[in-house]
Symmetry: none
Subunit: 245 residues, 2 copies
């Protein structure tokens, strides 16, 4: 991978508890030339401790803190979640880590890619995963599938920066997560105005819409087109509704 | 790699100081199905502490202790040393880690292979390296070449047990063309009712919608979901319109 592409790779730690783990991830990033670390609601004390540790490196000092996964991945075109689960009714496609490098590299040439790690105890939640285009799993033994966070991050970063002659995969000009969120919100507004979403079902519909928007390959141009349609329909529904009422 | 071959892989830690690191290496071994751990003159207290740690796994309990590198690798056909050094007047051939798997696998079919890690502070000495057939280096940044021991071990074991990548053609349960046509027609109807399509532009909008529906990866489930939304919106628009008119 080109060094320039690595600047587009972001590691996102979601609800990490242990400051040693935050430090270990930052160290692995430094080892492999990845600079952008983002933390989603880390335990405050942990983050402060990790940041102020002797020898805390540039990665840690410059790490950003975010209130939600959505905010942390807003500018990312591809969001990849990590999981130790083999199946667990995952809603997103699951790839072996060895299959991740090619599509990640292809996207890095176009825009930012986020690699998400969940908390030490519970990993990524279903809600976290809704922000992911697909999930990746490090092939481990059934008897001991769960890896230490710092080690898992090191393995992933090695795999993504590992020198290889990989088969060229078409660059996917995916829309950024921020754009997808905006489209999703507009769509929810439309579905609400159109009476599709029942009050009690809004959350599950929203989750379903969010997953679908990430599963399909929507480009920036598609997003633009779709937003225009949704806005027009929304306007019409409201105008009609006002007239009718 | 076959599971039977993995039983022939040995990890040797030479003069490791930190019990946490010994534990981390043992955990990574357990993750990747490697069982044989050998320690060369570890700091006594460290080894005892690591061994007696809560949750210390089978790898650690069964780890052997040796007085010298020579004794630890006595039954090995191939001895591979790890180093962060790029050159440092190495006497042995140096390979990138990504080049190690093939020769290691070839030897595992014949006999035992040892992977050596030196102490946290100094790595393997020249004397230790004299027992190695060749050396391996994890490709890291010049600015931060030295990896944490537990992370380095995890990366090496991942690389040596990594499934060989076969280009994966994802089985995408794409919607049939017929379904896409039906969805497209409904969508056009909705856009017409919503005032999005101008009479003179209907044909070009229809072409645009058709292209988009085929460019994105829509599955049967997506199509079903989308049709439900479009039908509901259409109904609402017409009902409102009638009421208004």
């Amino acid at each position: 991978m080109l060094a320039s592409d690595l600047r587009q790779l972001t590691v996102v730690l979601v609800r990490t508890r242990n400051p040693l783990n935050i430090g270990a991830v930052a160290r692995a990033m430094q080892n492999f030339g990845v600079r952008d670390l983002r933390l989603v609601t880390p335990f405050e004390a942990s983050f402060r401790e990790a940041r102020s540790a002797v020898g805390a490196d540039a990665v840690l000092r410059e790490a950003g803190e975010f209130a939600s996964v959505a905010a942390a991945v807003g500018d990312c075109r591809l969001v990849v979640g990590t999981t130790a689960a083999r199946r667990r009714e995952l809603e997103q496609p699951l790839r072996g880590l060895e299959q991740a490098a090619a599509p990640v590299h292809a996207t890095l040439a176009e825009g930012r890619v986020a690699l998400l790690f969940g908390s030490e105890k519970h990993g990524l939640t279903r809600e976290d995963m809704e922000h992911c285009h697909w999930l990746v799993r490090i092939g481990t033994e059934d008897a001991q599938p769960s890896m230490n966070l710092g080690q898992a991050a090191a393995v992933c970063l090695w795999e993504l920066t590992r020198p290889v002659t990989s088969p060229v995969v078409e660059a996917e000009a995916r829309a950024s997560s921020g754009e997808l969120e905006r489209l999703g919100s507009l769509l929810m507004e439309l579905l609400g105005a159109g009476g599709y979403t029942h009050p009690g079902k809004a959350a599950s519909t929203e989750a379903e819409v969010r997953r679908m928007l990430r599963r399909v390959n929507v480009t920036d141009a598609d997003t633009h087109l779709l937003m225009g349609m949704v806005r027009k329909l929304l306007w019409k529904l409201r105008w009609n509704g006002k007239d009718a009422g």
